[in-house]
Amino acid sequence: MVLFAQETSREGTFSFPLPASNFAADVDGMYAFIFWISLFFFVVINVCMFYFVYKYRRKDSRLPEKSPSHHMGIELAWTILPSFLLVYMFVVGAFGYLDMRTPPEAAAAVERTIDVKAFKYGWQFIYPNGDITTELHLAKDVPVRFRIKAEDALHSFFIREFRVKMDCVPGRFTECWVTPRMTRTPDETLNKDGSRGSLEPFHLACSEYCGEGHSQMRTEWKANPDGKTGSWAFPVYVHDCSFDELATFTNWKPQENSRWENGQFYFKAYGCVGCHNIEDGPQKVGPNFKAVNWGSNVMRQFEEGPDAPADDDYIRESINYSTKRVVKGYPNQMPKFNFDDEKLSYLIDFIKSPASDPNPTKVKDLKKETAKTTDSQSAEQ
């Protein structure tokens, strides 16, 4: 137990994080305005109060000297005059807010819309080109619109450096938009040797209470067991490039990787790691896959119903029909997925052996090999 963790990079001013979006300057400026007005009133009230308490402390006679207990002029003044300040605050705040909720045409276009999917307990971003990741990659000075939905419970999409927040409501879409104004690249947050970089990514966080893993739905450094290397969960990056070039950061080509690597990618991209540990470590919401034995001869116990073998079909059912059978001792909280057979088979390969790749052949070569064997077999015949 470390009581005093080492100080991490704390960027921004004393009371605000970095102003990394088009809204930040307005929000921070408005806050500063209200702050100074408030401080003025606070100081006036308290200086008067403490001065009166000192000056008019009871000395000898109990009854104070006569003074008025009512003054219409003063009372009307301090009722009406501050109202003008309040109206000003309302108007400026309202215009700032309408900006936040009205995406410019450039962002409203379909090709600038990123779908945000919040679920217990993780995030997923679906890009216009169909890429799916758990990392949010944006381009500097390019307005983007987020179309937000929640799978299960309420969540809230909050990136503090952008001053952006929008609730994710199950059963409906909500939306917001932003133009990032500062860059933050993966290289700055992760060193070549896999250790933690000097800076942190911009911070995404769920800010509407959603249950057990609420505080896991944030940008966070996940250290590997060796203590040195690790990775960022749900980081927000801003690149200095065009929006279309962003695809290179997220494009995953299953053909170029092994089946196990594809499974590992989807496992992380779909946020499975949020609830399922794949190495030694604390127990998360769901079972730790390193500790589970799989196979048709291993029986799984459930909250309800008879035991069943932990074969590939069982894993398929647990992913695509997650609420059907719940393993004994775990809550019924997994979101339902709807994967095609290809992704499912990659995921199953990975889940069965999360520690190492049993067959590191690329998928495209795998097909050739199969073809070769078939060819040679047919040749032999």
């Binding site: 963790a5 408030s38 109990r62 009372e75 501050p82 800010s207 249950g211």
Partner: protein
């Protein structure tokens, strides 16, 4: 009979029996219809609830000392903050001032024997106990992890004891309605002849406004609770999107009660502060009518601003603009009260008694709590601050720095009246000072954390916030020590305290005209009515050794002297 003799006769002797001693045994308490005993039982009850929820707060603050897990799992942390919030709100703060202090003080302030419906009053206390039992049942079964807000659809999905907690909330709501109903009728019908609306003490205006909210808003909570119960047990599909319901509708229903409920908590506190500031500076309250009207204004406006809890919830932009505008309108009457209190101090004759220390501390803390509401009402800044620790700090400055501090000030102010004992003034002041320091240490760092973007209800957090959390945790311990000192000072006074006279502070309101503690009938003589803030109408009497009303010079003819009522 000379004036001195009259005084001697009316105020000189403490009667043999008072309401605490006139009958004995648990039945005499449990079946009492005496508003004073019901008030005392409420006081003990809400204090116990406060201690329990306070311990939960200390536990979760201790867990937050480090960013990673120390001794509470995520689930246990969630249960801890939920129970802390739910018990504090439903079992402690809402009944604290109206039901405990109000019950004791309100009828005597009116010069009355009791509230209008004594049986309803006792029923309200029984309902409070029953509701609390449901909460305790939830606590010992599977606890509760929904947050005190019970937001759907999580509250439909979770396996924790939502049903028993909701039943508790439902029952506690009726307890609150009964108290409110009683107060409305009592104030309307039982004022003594000559006490017009604008000759009522300001606490009564505040309690009356509060009662209006209790009666009008609480039924909505009951309906919401019932619908959620139906949702969980029968799958009605009103709030659960999986069944075609709308979770945002739940938020509307919930805050339609719970925002006015914020004023159920703060309005009576403001009433207490009006009394304390005036009495302990022996000066007529400044701008009586503005303060009275502002209570009513707050009560009305409180119904129109619930949507400001939902600025990021996905409700329509038009609604959000309207709610923001209305929210600013509540700022005005609250500010008016603060200005009036400070103006009351001007040219006063101020003594820093313990209640006065709490009152000054209230103005300081409520000032911060109120002003930090401005960036939350302003839309553009609220989007960033919403659901962060900034909000946590803001409402604790209002609910604890406001309501709790005023409640404590009130307890210290009326303690001699309730139990007939004076506490150690030094001890009380020390407690108030440590509470003030501890409170600021706990909650001020949370403003900075919040504006830096630390979301609320987080069991784990980014290491960059650790320093703020640590200051906050240390502050919570100091706050705990301060509260323990206050409790100790009060309890010790019961055995060691000097006997209190009928009017130890020189207050001009009627509850200080009867003896301390009051007899079963409250007044042994007809009340001598004068302005509640006319401190020239009372004087110190050497023989009585306390403050007594100035009696009119007897005319040549034997004047109609108020005759002692025969006690039975």
């Amino acid at each position: 009979m000379s004036i001195a003799q009259q005084k001697e006769k009316l105020f000189g002797h403490a009667p043999e029996e008072n309401f605490l001693t006139e009958s004995k045994g648990w039945k005499s308490w449990f079946f009492t219809l005496d508003h004073k005993r019901i008030g005392i039982m409420y006081l003990i009850g809400v204090m116990a609830a406060f201690a329990l929820a306070g311990i939960f707060a200390l536990i979760l603050r201790a867990e937050l000392f480090t960013p990673n897990q120390m001794f509470l799992s995520n689930t246990n942390y969630n249960k801890m903050f939920t129970l802390h919030g739910a018990i504090m709100v439903f079992v402690f703060i809402i009944p604290s001032i109206p039901a405990a202090l109000g019950n004791f003080v309100l009828p005597i302030m009116l010069g009355a024997k009791d509230v209008a419906f004594p049986r309803l009053n006792l029923a309200s206390f029984y309902l409070w106990m029953l509701g609390t039992i449901f909460f305790i049942f939830a606590m010992v079964s599977t606890q509760l992890d929904t947050g005190w807000t019970f937001y759907t659809p999580y509250s439909v999905q979770t396996s924790s004891a939502v049903i028993s907690a909701l039943t508790g909330v439902f029952i506690l709501g009726f307890s609150s309605i009964f108290t409110g109903l009683n107060f409305i009728v009592t104030v309307n019908t039982m004022r003594p002849p000559g006490m017009t609306w604008f000759k009522m003490p300001l606490l009564l205006w505040a309690l009356y406004s509060t009662a209006l909210i209790q009666v009008l808003a609480t039924p909505v909570l009951a309906i919401t609770g019932l619908l959620l119960l139906g949702e969980r047990t029968l799958g009605l599909g009103i709030f659960d999107p999986a069944l075609g319901g709308d979770p945002v509708l739940f938020q509307h229903f919930f805050w339609f009660y719970s925002h006015p409920a914020v004023y159920i908590m703060i309005l009576p506190a403001m009433g207490i502060i009006s009394e304390l500031i005036s009495v302990h500076s022996q000066k007529k309250i400044f701008g009586y009518e503005f303060i009275a009207y502002s209570s009513i204004a707050i009560a009305i406006l409180s119904f129109l601003v619930w949507g400001h809890h939902m600025f990021t919830s996905g409700q329509s932009e038009m609604l959000i603009l309207i709610f923001s505008a209305l929210t600013f309108s509540v700022a005005v009457p609250s500010a008016v009260k603060v200005f009036n209190w400070v103006a009351t101090l001007y040219k006063g004759s101020i003594v820093l008694t313990t209640p006065m220390c709490y009152a000054l501390s209230f103005i300081f803390l409520f000032g911060i709590g109120g002003l930090t509401g401005l960036p939350l009402g302003t839309l553009s800044t609220d989007i960033h601050l919403h659901d962060t620790y900034y909000v946590v700090a803001h409402f604790h400055y209002v609910m604890v720095g406001g309501t709790l501090i005023a409640f404590l000030g009130g307890v210290f102010h009326w303690w001699p009246k309730m139990f007939g004992r004076m506490y150690s003034e030094k001890g009380g002041q020390l407690g108030a000072l440590i509470v003030f320091i501890g409170f600021n240490l706990t909650f001020f760092p949370q403003f900075i954390m919040g504006s830096r973007g630390m979301p609320r209800r987080y069991a784990r957090y980014d290491p960059e916030f650790q320093i703020f959390h640590q200051v906050s945790t240390i502050g919570s311990l100091v706050l705990g020590v301060g509260l323990a000192i206050a409790a100790y000072v009060l309890l010790v006074s019961l055995w060691r305290g000097k006997r209190a006279t009928g009017n130890p502070w020189g207050a001009a309101t009627l509850e200080f005209q009867c003896c301390s503690p009051p007899t079963f009938h409250n007044f042994e003589h007809e009340v001598i009515l004068h302005d509640p803030y006319d401190f020239e109408a009372i004087e110190f009497d050497e023989k009585v050794d306390g403050y007594v009303p100035v009696l009119p010079e007897p005319a040549e003819e034997p004047a109609p002297v108020p005759e002692p009522v025969e006690s039975n």
